[in-house]
Amino acid sequence: MTHLYRPILSLLVVLCCVAQGQAQQTEAAFISGNFKSATFEEFAREVEAQTNYQFYFDATAVDSLSITLQVKEQPLSNVLSQVFRNTDLQFAIDAAQRVFVTRGTQLSVSLPKNFFEPVENTGDSAPQVAANRLQGEEKEVKKAGSELKLYEIGVKREGATGKANLAGHLRDFKTGEPIIGAAVYIESPLIGTTSDQYGYYSLTLPVGRHELKVKAIGLQNTRRHIMLYSEGKLNIDIAEDVRTLKEVLVEAEKDKNVSGLQMGMEKLDIRTIKQVPTAFGETDILRVVLTLPGVKSVGEGSTGMNVRGGSTDQNLILFDDATIYNPSHLFGFFSAFNPDILKTVELYKSGIPAKYGGRLSSVLEVTSRDGNKKEFAGSGGIGLLTSRLTLEGPIQKDKTSFLIGGRSTYSDWLLKKLPNKSFNESSAGFYDINGHISHEINEKNTLYLNGYLSKDRFQLGADTLFRFSNQAASLKWKHIFQNKLYGVLTGVYSHYDYDVTSKKNPVNASRLTFGINQSNLQADFSYFPTSKHTVDFGASSILYNVNPGTLTPNSPESLIAPDRLQAERALESAIYASDRFDITRRFSVSVGLRYSFFNALGPRSVNTYAPGAPKTEGTIQDTAVYKSGDVFATYHGPEYRLSARLGLTDNSSVKLSFNRMRQYIHMLSNTTSMSPTDVWKLSDANIRPQVGDQLALGYYRNFRANTIEFSVEGYYKKMQDFLDYKSSATLVMNHHIETDVAGAEGKAYGVEVMLRKATGKMNGWVSYTYSRTLVRLDDAETGEKINNGEYYPSNFDKPHDFTLISNYRFSQRFSTSVNFTYSTGRPITLPLAKYTLGNSQRIYYSDRNAYRVPDYYRLDLALNIEGNHKIKKLAHSSWTLAVYNLTGRRNPYSIYFKAEEGRINGYKMSIFGQPIPTITYNFRF
């Protein structure tokens, strides 16, 4: 910068004094000359000598320029255009015949139109900010804030034709957070795209003048006038539409239902989630996800999700790219995600992008917000069981922001109320902490750092104490190579562990621990070669380290023999590529392939069982010992990802998708509900990976200018080798777990119908699902047969499911939400006969899951009262009054028969058998 021809400060002073003027305004001074390999400095002196023009430039910016040019009586602007052709240098000439040469961004020689006008803040329209950079620092990207100004993009060339690429970030005007899923498009010809999870968009447009429109629900619609010359960047800040703060239900592109290629994907925005009443007044994303078509659970109080007939371990739950193994708190009554720090939740049920893999049924991607980049802010809530507080703000304004959130519980009193004596003597609690830092190094590089910690403890009865903990950290570096290509490098560490300690009986006092560590490294690239293609490719690798179980004595008198299951290690790697090809406006396909590899690593001793015979301790033929790092089992295979969309009309389309998934990690559980002490097991020489195929077909139609969305999706799914357990299996501290589990196969099919209205006073959705999930266990290798090897309904096979989620806004400040859910009762195993053995009546059970509990239905009601809507006030607050299970129906969770005092008694257990009123106070500042 030392070579600046004139000091920058004086330039600014001068600029401020210039009257309104046009860029490239030229006097009638013509230039003639013959330059041969001249430097720009030589060229400038020559021009200054011939005319009154004065040049201002940074010598380093032009030192690479070599000018060979013959001109005769040409205006300066034409000459400069030729000189700067094919460079990123820009020039501007002001009224005082000063020529400013800059790199990248053209210097504006006039002030924006509203530069001296006061900033509006009425709330109806958010203030716009003069965006052009007056500072001398190099800027390649235009940051467009004005709807009226014409933004020139790229290197100006006269009469240029063809196409050029425009890319940039969409950001929230107020907080600087990226805007996800906004539509960016021009209308003639209709070319558009949507912003990705970083708020990034990339469009290839014909060169020329366009009106670029940006639409996102919940934000003000905005437009920018652009003059596109060549490849360039344009960042757009968009103001939140304050009036629709609580109106927004589902943030998605209005016509994405029909026009997007993706099917089987549900995207929920935190504002939607907050409207749905929950049992304890705490916003719970997993509860809301469970209301979506195709997502089921065995019952209330269990967070385990079953997506389209998949088991609970077949969901990849990503929280800011980190895998979360146990997404629940407190027996599943709370989800592990603090609602205040969340931005969006995306659930992929079919048409899963090639980027994701490793689980059979679904991907649930939970994304936290970036902190406010402009000012310090906070929010929180006080509920009956939990309280939470979130703080956020800039560390370096517009560049770096932080977000930190915490949540804790005071739930012991709840347990005292539970009907079971052992619960009365119990205690329970949890907390979680989230941290998020995003740092924009420069326009091309951004860093994101996330941290997450959750801890739970509960003591059942007076003896056994359970504790479990999730920990996750991720570091993400996004680099934009050029407009059409960007890459994200992500490093993730996630950890889950639990321990169970018992010390009542000193001789048996023990501590059982389980832990899983996962380290990921992945690189993902997105490439936009033309407006018709979007190519994603990348590679990932996961190193697993599992401690399947360690048992140690927990008191000096304890006789517990220390025992440790062999540690498991494995490397799961994948490469993928996919191309979305928009063949015509109506027809697009996405073809993807993911190839995954799995290597089980030593040190380990591995049992070999007699081929063909059931695996038991008696059929162990050989035990091979592998050294550290030895690969003792390898699995690999392709995973196909195909989807296609055919637009029938502007308002309707048909989509088809097929995907194959492979899963190398399994959860072992013999309880109905997902339990915190379930064991995760890696595939190895004796346990094969699970493979699942899904074919889905859907019809989509929008009504009333895209305000009402209708969709019908059908699917058929086949799953192989997912683990079921044998009767009387021991899943904890088992040195040869393969003898106690069996490979099951499953099939699932169904139709999901959904009608959704996203905007307006009345919004919400209605869905109906018919689905079946069947399992078959007839494994010759394990000698295990259930129900004679016939297909039987799985625990969560609930054929009919109807859900209504609705929200009605009476006024700006009052809104109500009503939920209604109906589903067929889940299958259970009932006693077929009784007999007397050992002085007591006992039960002989029917075939597994041959009967069902009575049907389930529930009605919830919530009332939201907002404080006033003044934009400037100390804190915004709201009250939520809700009644969960308004009718007080005792929906049976389970029906069971127990031998008590020698007799068989039947019981029906319901978890929430009464209306549960809650009140929550929320605030943000």
Partner: protein, 391 residues
Amino acid sequence: MQMYTRRFKSIICCCLLLLGGCVEPYAPEVIEGPNHYLVVDGLINGNGITTVKLSRTQNISEESMPMAEMGATLLLEEEQGAQYPLHEAVPATYVSSSLNLDLTKKYRLYIRLSTGREYASEFVDVKQTPPIEKVGWEALDNSLQLYVSSRDPQKNTQYYRWEYEATWAYTAALNSNIKYDEATGTIVPRTRSDENIYNCWRTDYSTGIKLGSSAKLSEDVIHEYPILTLPAASEELRIKYSILVKQYALTQEAYQYWEALRKNTESIGTLFDPLPAQLTGNVHSLANPDEPVIGYVGASSVQEERLFVSREELPKEWRYFYPTCQMDSLMPAEGQTLADLAERFKYDAYMPVTEIYAPDGPPAPIGYMGAVKGCVDCRTRGTNVKPDFWE
């Protein structure tokens, strides 16, 4: 079905006002199975009398006693060796003579029903059961915890199962000093020659499955396994209580069977309890291996230990059980005599307790106090014969 509902009357539905969680009695739609599978209940006793009961499964809604399987032929068979017959001591209960089995051999139970169908259990090892180290008790806050400790220095046992027989002394609620004399039709005083209907003993057998394992321990030790908890206010603890604990060593396979049976029928229904499973055992039909037969016939010796707990040893501050009963005063109505009143006690169900005298009248009764038999005659629930082991 009515009977079925009545069964649950005593179970209180405890619904929470706030949380609303709820466990209610439930009688399902009647599940009727056409099959009545054979149930084999017993184990091979390595050093004593083997007792096996044969019965049939019945539908859940049936209230009758399980169908007994009588007239069967049972043999205790040594693998490639001797056969020891069992004889039907009482209907459907088959007993052997006292045997001392060879611990190095395997044994099984062979059954031939009166219909000619043949069944056999799998051959099993005879486990040597170590002696019970101690049966003890501990007074907790408001209950008595009974526990059993055991030890096998040879470390051969590892898996244990216990049963118990609890016996306690009790009295009727009301001590009657008069009785109805059938010969004269009058009320007469009780004398020494009358049966004691006030002091009795009652014996109950364990119903739950009590299992312990030392497999995870470095020594083969069971330390204070809680076998039974009695509330302080239970009748058992009012006077004197005794428990006879029987210990059986199990093979790992047998342990797994009992553990599965326990989970299936006792530990079930809460959020994280395991799902029920179909469970049969180790007895099979010789003709049709797919026919479900219920029961696991293991083999082991039996060890026993008895414990007494009397009221004097227990905490003084506990609130103990005290039997109460409603008494009626019966006075002759106009024109009635005491003899007419005595008629009321003619049937055994209603018994006289004591005579009523006028406060300042002559020393002749003017009426009787009466109560239902259960309040007066302790034999309705037990026996007035003192058990021979009673101290």
